[in-house]
């Protein structure tokens, strides 16, 4: 059995130094007309993202020559957790900042880096992820969208689905099949940057059960994509995607999605609740403090160049179960559910969105499987 290793890492002073600034910014820039929501998928607000970028807080860890901040993962951690805890609208730049930027820096051509990365860091260029397809579920290797070589590029045909914010963002990095399925299901996949507003691309919003349109279906019909939009090398898509999934593994977004419900609960119960209510708050706080410590350990281990894959999966699995349980626990613990209270409104919003918490980057089943593999069981 592999030992579970979480180094006892705390955020360093230069990261903590940022915290006050971030809070002041949020205080100033937070939109007043919506209920704060700690779910990173809620709140697509280009103006907020732009203001954030002006602080230098998008692409913080990227090289300065590409418009990045050249800062540490720890500094980024502080900014991210403060934004989520406050329920700020981060959805617009989220994927570009967390996934697409790092992917392009690692695998992109120099031209791609120069074109996209500084624009992302300026908060002017938003990306979506194009992995899932109608019949793929969690099985990414079953991708069927085809990209055929034609002249100086590719002709893409197929459909991506569950693409968050595709109707609002600028580009999608689509996982496509560039050669026929072979014995090795992971071979023949590639990643292409595709302009979501370009010809041959149709974006159809999919309403979710809460009535919002976050998800989309993205249909490619003879969509021409220049060869210069290939990310990394042809046929290397699987490896790239796998490393990309690593970026979304165990940040604070994995356990904070329901955090505003706790805040409103504390507001609703007032300063001197009974023992049970106090214990419920204490219990959730202890889980949050623990998850945060675990998550910071993983960030630190990444910063040191380690690959804490098992540890990241543990944080994600625990965080997922935790954030789903929060609204359920607070709902029954609340002494009353006043019609029209902020607590009730936040609770309702989170209950409706809760089914989506586990859709992100691997279901509970997948995560547990990853852990079992890490334990040497499979």
């Amino acid at each position: 059995m592999q030992a579970l290793k979480f180094d006892d890492i705390a955020l360093p002073p230069e990261a903590e130094a940022l915290r006050g600034e971030v809070r002041a910014f949020i205080e100033r820039a937070m939109p007043q007309d919506t209920l704060p929501d700690s779910d990173f998928n809620q709140g697509h607000d280009p103006a907020f993202s732009k203001a954030l970028a002006e602080q230098g807080w998008i692409g913080m860890t990227w090289p300065t020559r590409y418009g990045g901040g050249g800062r540490t993962f720890f500094e980024r951690y502080v900014v991210t957790e403060e934004l989520l805890a406050a329920g700020a609208p981060v959805s617009a730049h989220w994927i570009a900042d967390r996934q697409s930027g790092p992917l392009l820096l690692r695998y992109g051509t120099e031209a791609q880096r120069e074109r996209f990365v500084p624009a992302i860091a300026r908060g002017e260029c938003f990306f979506s992820i194009g992995m899932s397809e109608p019949d793929s579920g969690s099985d990414l290797a079953s991708v069927r969208t085809r990209a055929e070589r034609r002249g100086e590029g590719y002709v893409v045909n197929g459909t991506k689905v569950w693409t968050t914010d595709a109707q609002r963002n600028h580009f999608i990095i689509a996982l496509v099949r560039t050669s026929q399925t072979s014995e090795n299901r992971h071979a023949g996949l590639s990643q292409l940057i595709i302009d979501l507003k370009g010809p041959g691309v149709t974006v159809r919003p999919i309403r979710n059960l809460a009535g919002d349109e976050d998800f989309n279906e993205v249909v490619f019909e003879n969509c021409f994509v220049g060869a210069d939009m290939l990310v990394g090398s042809e046929g290397n898509g699987w490896e790239q995607v796998t490393s990309e999934l690593g970026y979304e593994r165990s940040g604070p977004e994995r356990f904070l999605s329901a955090f505003r419900v706790l805040v409103e609960f504390v507001r609703a119960v007032g300063p001197d609740p009974d023992d049970h209510v106090a214990a419920v708050v204490g219990r959730l706080v202890s889980h949050l403090m623990t998850l945060r410590a675990m998550s910071i350990s993983v960030a630190g281990m990444l910063q040191q160049g380690q690959n804490p894959a098992l540890e990241a999966a543990l944080v994600k699995a625990l965080g997922n179960d935790f954030e789903k349980s929060v609204p359920e626990i607070l709902r029954v613990a609340a002494p009353h559910l006043e019609e029209g209270s902020r607590f009730r409104a936040t609770l309702a919003q989170t209950l409706l969105h809760a089914p989506s918490f586990t859709l992100r980057g691997g279901t509970r089943e997948i995560l547990r499987g990853v852990i079992a593999r890490g334990l040497g069981l499979r």
């Binding site: 805040v263 202890s286 403090m289 079992a372 499979r378």
Partner: protein, 336 residues
């Protein structure tokens, strides 16, 4: 750091050499493992947290995690903290063996006092019992020979004795740096550290068993349902270990109480979940006395109750979190 690692390796070796099934079984029937205690004492481990030898409380708690992995059946946590307290009181550690208790009734004027302490580990078998009292705290040592000791045991069969004393105790100094509450918090953290070690061991035993044991023609480990149970277990073990380390990392800081509260609550929760899954995976085999699993699972059940159940610490932590108001909930969690 490498000195710490050397110490932990030594401890691991001593515990692994001595704490076999037979020793654990004997200890649980009340037979104090004198030989083991002697080896531990000679190694200097119980003095790890006394200023004299330059050790630190941090190392003491790391040591306890290793001890938890082996269910070491001696009052090591108590000796470590007692010696630390004697150090604070500027009183040289004794050659004698010592345990520690919490005074749950106390009266006395002048030199003579009447005190009783419940659930003192191995009071019956050591030379002295240490406790603290008052504000500023006085560090007191009782000679067991002068005490009434009523043997008892917790659910894990660990010696937990009632101690009564009437007379003039040995006052070995006082300290301004700690309070009676601090000692309770340190002891709560000792249980977190012990549990973290025992939890790791439960996970190892369960994974090993699942890899080894066949049912319906294949290893248990190959069943998806078993894999998922072990995954849940691993999550809990990891959380417990991390919560404990985080609290250890805050020793001496103002955050310490909150971190201990969080850790004791979180680790206590993990203990229940892990004990249940471990037994579920082990089936009938794990229910036998012959199997070593229960030495760890029963200790988990005992230790989660000692020095404050989950509920106790959750209430304290919750009240502290609420005190700053809703909009400061996050600042409380972050600690700034």
């Amino acid at each position: 750091m490498s000195e710490t690692q050397l110490m932990l390796d030594t401890a691991e070796r001593i515990f692994a050499d001595h704490c076999d099934k037979a020793l654990l079984d004997a200890a649980e029937t009340g037979a104090f493992p004198r030989e083991l205690w002697k080896v531990i004492a000679e190694s200097g481990l119980p003095l790890l947290a006394t200023p004299e030898i330059g050790g630190s409380l941090t190392d003491a708690f790391r040591l306890l995690r290793v001890a938890g992995r082996h269910a070491v059946p001696v009052p090591l946590a108590e000796a470590l903290i007692a010696n630390h307290l004697m150090g604070l009181g500027n009183c040289a550690p004794r050659a004698s063996t010592v345990t520690l208790g919490i005074a749950d009734s106390y009266s006395g004027e002048g030199a003579e006092v009447s005190v009783s302490l419940s659930s003192v580990p191995w009071a019956r078998s050591v030379d002295q019992v240490c406790y603290v009292i008052g504000d500023p705290v006085e560090i007191i040592l009782l000679d067991v020979a002068d005490c009434d000791v009523t043997p008892g045991a917790n659910i894990a069969g660990e010696a937990r004795d009632r101690v009564s004393f009437l007379g003039v105790p040995d006052r070995c100094g006082s300290s301004e740096t700690i309070t009676v509450e601090t000692v309770f918090e340190l002891m709560a953290l000792s249980r977190c550290a012990l549990m973290s070690g025992a939890l790791e061991r439960c996970l190892e035993l369960s994974c090993d068993y699942a890899m080894e044991r066949k049912q319906f023609g294949r290893e248990l480990a190959k069943f998806q349902a078993i894999q998922h149970q072990l995954a849940v277990m691993a999550c809990e073990v990891a959380a417990a270990g991390r919560a404990t380390d985080a609290a250890i990392g805050c020793l001496g800081e103002s955050r310490f109480v909150a971190m201990v509260a969080s850790a004791k609550s979180r680790v206590g929760e993990a203990a229940g979940v892990v004990a249940e899954i471990a037994h579920q995976v082990h089936g009938a085999m794990g229910y036998t006395h012959e199997h070593r699993l229960h030495h760890f699972t029963r200790r988990l059940l005992a230790w989660r109750d000692e020095y404050g159940r989950e509920t106790y610490w959750q209430q304290r932590l919750g009240r502290d979190a609420i005190a700053g108001g809703a909009d400061a909930t996050w600042a409380f969690i972050v600690g700034r």
